[in-house]
Symmetry: C2
Subunit: 219 residues, 2 copies
């Protein structure tokens, strides 16, 4: 129960040389990331992890205290990767709308779902403060970052001043997560794409018209 003794906590960086032959520990984490994505936490057994990683039981219990400890390492790794990928969209050049659009339209494996969002539906994950924390941080950061981009767009006069950056950011993040749900229910990416088009169109309507006459402030 009280496991998850990850002392090397917080650190969840991938190995320095990504090309080097993966260590046993690395292979365990990678395999766990894949299986958590495919089957969720309850659906993922240590046995399946070991088989995919190609190692024996002993190795796993040597490097990790148990299933939840290994899952913690895997979830952190995945969350970090997602955050980096998202940040690339938000720092891209262009208007606030462009950058949000870049995030929404970025390539995704829609039918596989969101590897982090999925964890949210897993009872054992949400009930464990340690396992939930990376999800909380990731989505908290995401909403905050989108809100920042939107607020910046307002300051630049690109977006209507009346827009609520925080609420809009939550809506944008929710559309992506909900899009996954709708797509998986239909076994078709179309609902995801439609949802993204939907918010983007609504957001585009908030773009300020190129300012017909700001001529007065120069006079």
């Amino acid at each position: 129960m009280g496991d998850t003794g990850n002392t090397s906590s917080t650190r969840n960086t991938a190995p320095a040389s990504p090309s080097a032959p993966a260590s046993t520990q690395e292979r365990l984490v990678t395999s766990t990331q894949e299986l958590l994505w495919e089957r969720g936490y309850v659906g993922t057994s240590p046995k399946a992890i070991l088989e995919r990683a190609g190692v024996g039981q002993g190795s796993m219990y040597h490097h990790f205290t148990g299933k939840s400890d290994l899952a913690l390492a895997a979830i952190r790794r995945t969350a970090d990767g997602m955050q980096q990928a998202a940040e690339e969209c938000f720092t891209a050049p262009g208007t606030a709308y462009d950058r949000v659009a870049s995030y929404l339209l970025r390539e995704r494996q829609v039918l596989r779902g969101c590897p982090i969002g999925r964890m949210t539906q897993d009872r054992d994950v949400v009930r464990s403060p340690e396992l939930r924390q990376p999800l909380d941080e990731m989505f908290g950061w995401l909403r905050h970052r989108i809100a920042e981009v939107l607020a910046e767009g307002q300051r630049r006069g690109e977006l209507a001043a009346g827009l609520d950056p925080v609420a809009t950011a939550a809506a944008v993040a929710a559309v992506v997560q909900g899009g996954y749900v709708l797509a998986r229910a239909a076994e078709d990416t179309a609902p995801f794409d439609a949802a993204v088009r939907g918010v983007l169109a609504l957001l585009a309507a908030q773009a300020v018209i190129p300012a017909t006459a700001p001529s007065s402030d120069t006079a």
Copy 2:
């Protein structure tokens, strides 16, 4: 494997007299509905269902061919209930915006998540055509119904003609499902509420101004 022999298929109505002491079969379905919501499909064992329903193993395998067959009955029942609840919002009086808002703002047990949306994250459910069908129908109907309401709003001149009803409907449905995800990650309903406020504000901006001068058509 090839079970789910629900011959009384399609029918998933609750018993005629909801007040009468629930039959064994009814208690099994109800217990399964609850457990699927709480723990998902993989996380729900027949044993747990039997304990909650207060019946023995024999009863379950007498009325149903197995776990998946019972789950099918439960999922259908839940999906039907959700559809009915949603329809009440859409048939309510008021503008298209009002009716969509009524759906979005309707009371929910946000932190428990969506009982149908959750199934979407469950491998065994999505991989089974029978089990996935109710989800597909439910969300398909939902998107279609929201699109209808929006299109009607356009015809009535309440909403901007440029609005894409189908894409907007997908976005609205996605915001709800994604809101659940964000809320559960944060263990806080705030992100859900923010997301709903967000889309509603964006949608409100699509409302046509009360028409300053429709005076010409009477002349």
